[in-house]
Amino acid sequence: MKISPGGVIRDMGSTVNTKTGGWRSERPVIDNDKCIECGSCWIFCPDSSIIVTTSGNRRTYSVNLDFCKGCGICANECPSAAIKMILEEK
């Protein structure tokens, strides 16, 4: 690998090229019927892997499984228990 002078990295935010989702052993599943749109999962995600989509005045949350490491913070913090962690199986 060629190293740039001074070790300068010009491609900002390029860690997205590495999918850390492979580290996961449990996967969060969001039940949109129970979701109260508080955004706790989004704010507390250390991997910024909760995707928020807004349609009208309804927000839906989904998980970007490319980066989710399965820590379970979202499931633990969800005030309405709308997120469950299920085991990743082949």
Partner: protein, 322 residues
Amino acid sequence: MEIAADIPSYVRCRQKCETSLIANRCWKFSQTVKEVSDKELFASGHRACAGCGGTLAIRYALKALGPNTICTNATGCMEVVSSPYPEISWKVPWIHQAFENSAASASGVESALKALGRKKGVNVVAFGGDGGTFDIGLQSLSGAMERGHDLTYICYDNEAYMNTGVQRSGSTPYGAMTTTSPPGKLSFGEDRQKKDMPHIIAAHGVPYVATASVALPLDYMAKVKKAAAIEGPAYVQVYSPCPVGWGSDPAKSIEIGRLAVDTGMIVLYEIENGVSKVSYRPPEKIPVREFLKTQKRFRHLTDDKIAEIQGFVDERWDKTFR
């Protein structure tokens, strides 16, 4: 503490959520932050462990600071996980240098910007872990604070040298197990109290010093915003749970951060121009045992030791919340 009533997008959840009526359980308790940026300036794909509190500290800080920010970073977890060459997580200009000179580099950046007349509107922020702040980086931090550079220093405090394998630092609390303070026949773990870093920095006469926790993101973001807006040096210390070093469940990182505040293990306050103000008052005091039992680093503690720690906490609690 009341929940912010005027954040429009939150109205819906407040109507439905019963638990959020208890302010400390809800992350939206701050009155000063009305809007949280959707923009992620700290990209996904960083190599932090699952449930890392430190990455949250950076993510929130960058959300509060915005893209017009130049960061310097001491060696530590957050440097290692965010810059696996040739990739980088940061979407703002970022410099990594040696362990001890995060603050020195930031003062250089700030001086250069001033000399070029381009400082206006640019936040210069130095990040450091507790090792790079409390121990190794203390001299350069002290220098930067004393010289009065217009920069913000953010210390993400995970209470030991986590990156190198959990060695004790000046920040390690009393009784905690680390690889260099192991409990055994002759030892009960760390035998020194946590260094009172915010007050050491405040003694430099800096205009703004604050402590925060990643479990209360809006409070933290408000403090970072305030620190960046203030002319002159500012120091923010943010409590960042580390599941690997603390031996806790990754899912409980935020819960532990909240418990630390509610039990009185850490106190959230601001010192503005020498005037100290408590910024968060726990609704009720939880016994410190509830906090200690969530982490393996405290599992060797006997009832006597827990009572001793409770004693320290009570003393601090009475002093702070009287």
